[in-house]
């Protein structure tokens, strides 16, 4: 690790995005993608990040192999509804059945939502507790518009988007007047206001606790009914890919670099004559808009709006997903989202099984509460697994690399390079080490 000043220095230059450090960092991101266990979904990372700096044969070969494997995995994901694959213990049935497709589509949507939260927390360092407000605005906005206006789906979605953009600007510009923990509380308060309004059911528009059932009159036929779950699955997959590409694009844009710089040292950004407030607002609004689109697809998938979609619980769920996967890593958010969704579903099934019912009280009560297990798991990850699942995977790969390679390099000469992604969390150590290894390899 370098000293604070050095880190800030590198961030300053990384924000400008001109020198080799940022290129090295993007290589790290690409490597993080191909190094993690969820091989099938690698394509977008390889496609989304900039190509590696040096034309080193070993690195290119590895990247090419990764891209090929990723492409194959992606094609598999597209073909999944047409195949008869069984994953006992993970999916409720073969992959072509609506039940499994529903769960898989939910995984995609939650992974996408976790990605938008990653944009807030991982990129801009904004710990928001009000993200569910925009998700819920997408869900309820579209449901209410479809219920009350006789317009087709796309204009209805456009109208909802407009509402969300205005809402995100208003709430964002007020809450960003404070930062850090107070920001978390304020966003929570706004989201709570939204949740309370939905619960109050003004003039019967939101359906209160019961929620709203999706009115399907103006929907295209291929999105309605259990038979068409696979269309919804493809839609959810498309949403995930689009959100991933957009998040990658925002993250590697000038605004993304600036946001990362603000996360590391806001004062320094201000001294450089840049506006932290505006870039934070931009990230906030982009993230809100993306998550509201996911909310709209969620509405189509669930064919109804439920109060949970706008509750603080949902934000917390997203936060848990991002932290489980590893803060600051896009793939971490995706993996965390999928992992959490499947685990939650499986644990709920487990909780209602006979095996649990037969246990004595002291075991039965904790095991029959999925949230208890997830909460405990979350605490353990925060305590013992800094960097979440991707951090752990990265460390494992690193250890294996170190064992496999001759002990020629120790990398001490590269200390001043590459801590671009050094966050306030402990993941920084990992990524610094990894980028150092990349530099070694290409040197």
């Amino acid at each position: 690790m370098t000293t604070d000043t050095d880190a800030a220095d590198t961030n300053g230059t990384a924000a400008a995005g001109t020198d080799s450090n940022s290129t090295a960092a993007s290589t790290t991101a690409a490597d993080g993608g191909s190094g993690n266990p969820a091989g099938p979904r690698r394509t977008a990372a390889a496609a989304g990040s900039t190509p590696p700096a040096g034309p080193h044969p070993r690195l290119t070969r590895r990247t090419a192999a990764g891209a090929a494997a990723g492409l194959a995995g992606f094609v598999l994901l597209i073909l999944l509804p047409l195949l008869n694959l069984s994953l006992p213990g993970v999916l409720p049935g073969p992959t072509y059945t609506p039940g499994s497709l529903q769960l898989l589509a939910m995984c995609m949507l939650m992974a996408a939502a976790a990605l938008t939260y990653h944009l807030l927390l991982g990129v801009a360092g904004l710990l928001s507790f009000g993200h569910a407000l925009y998700f819920g605005a997408g869900v309820y906005g579209l449901a209410i518009i479809l219920q009350n206006l006789d317009i087709p789906l796309l204009p209805a979605m456009g109208l909802t988007l407009l509402v969300v953009i205005v809402l995100a600007h208003v709430v964002g510009s007020i809450s960003l007047r404070v930062s850090g923990i107070p920001f978390a509380m304020v966003t929570l308060a706004f989201a709570q206001a939204g949740s309370v309004i939905v619960g109050r059911n003004p003039d019967g528009t939101t359906g209160g606790d019961e929620g709203l059932t999706l009115r399907t009159d103006n929907l295209p036929d291929f999105l309605v009914g259990v038979v068409n779950t696979r269309n919804l699955y493809w839609l959810a997959l498309a949403v995930l890919v689009v959100v991933f590409v957009v998040v990658t694009w925002v993250e590697s844009s000038r605004a993304g670099h600036l946001a990362a710089a603000v996360r590391e040292n806001e004062l320094r950004v201000r001294v450089l004559g840049l506006q932290p407030y505006l870039v934070k607002l931009l990230i906030f609004v982009v993230s809100a808009v993306l998550v509201s689109i996911i909310g709209m697809v969620f509405l189509l998938l669930q064919s109804g709006a439920v109060p949970r979609a706008i509750s603080a619980d949902l934000t917390i769920t997203l936060l848990v997903m991002v932290v489980l996967g590893g803060v600051g890593s896009r793939w971490g958010a995706v993996i965390g989202g999928i992992f959490y969704t499947i685990l939650d579903q499986r644990l709920t099934t487990l909780a209602n099984s006979d095996a649990i019912d037969a246990l004595p009280d002291i075991l039965r009560i904790p095991l029959s509460e999925p949230l208890f297990i997830l909460g405990t798991l979350f605490i353990l990850v925060v305590l013992f697994l800094p960097g979440g699942l991707t951090g752990a995977a990265k460390r494992l790969a690193q250890r294996r690399n170190r064992r496999g390679r001759s002990t020629g390099h120790d990398g001490t000469g590269n200390d001043s390079t590459g801590p671009d992604r050094t966050g306030p969390d402990r993941t920084g150590h990992e990524s610094t080490a990894t980028s150092r290894e990349i530099l070694e390899e290409s040197a």
Binding site: S175, G180, I181, A189, Q192, S368, L371, V382
Partner: protein, 291 residues
Amino acid sequence: MSTVVLLLFTGLGLGALYFLVAAGLSLIYGLMGVLNFAHGAFLTLGAFAGWEVARRAGSDDWWTFLLSLLVGAAAGAAFAAFTEFVLIRRLYQRHIEQLLITLGLSLAAVALFDGIWGTDPVFIQGPAWFKDTTEILGARVPNDRFVCIIAAVLVLLAMVFFLKNTRYGMIIRAGVENRSMVTALGIDVRKAFTLVFTIGGAAAGLGGVLASHYFGYVSPMLGGSLLIFAFIVTVIGGLGSLTGAAIAAVAVAVLQQFANFYLGGTGDFVVVLALALVLLFRPSGLLGRTS
């Protein structure tokens, strides 16, 4: 007039509950920079412990009520001390991780309460006097409001006395002002952390028992719903300020009651609006230090 008085006392009673939660939150945040999401779970545990005492004693006289208050406060304090000692202590100075830990803890604890006591609210019996009303200026004010108000005032006085007149209180106040200086003077500030957590937990547990009488029931969600308003109160009052928390708690609760009555149930909304206004014009809160 009688409506105004009734609303005022109801608001004061609710404000007392907000204060009991917010006081601990505010002190913990001021001293340690931890946003404690598990504070709601402390409160819920206190409420359930108080209810268990009342249920097992099988009577609803004053002694049982006092005992349930004591047990509730003790349960909250024990849970809080455990949290600080086992979980928070390992992560000093890493505020985001500390917050995440308390968040995970609140998820797990609420789920566990769900499993033990069920998700449905359980109804609670207090001394018969609670059911009666006292007439003040023509308004018939339910008596449990007074109990809440008196308890909160006592807690406030005790806390102020403790902070102003004892050695540990002095360390805590100094720690809120400038923690690194206190550490530099060779004082083990970690003891103060545990102490503040314990005090906060005790206040929350006490608040839990009182809240269960105020609302008439206990449910695992009790803490969570009060916690959000306590957050708002701490931000409006100024993070780290006990007096600020007390003033803001009363202001928020009274405003909420009046808005609920006169503006057609928009109380929660008005409170969030007030929060937005405070943030726009005074981002550090009413009595917070201006940065």
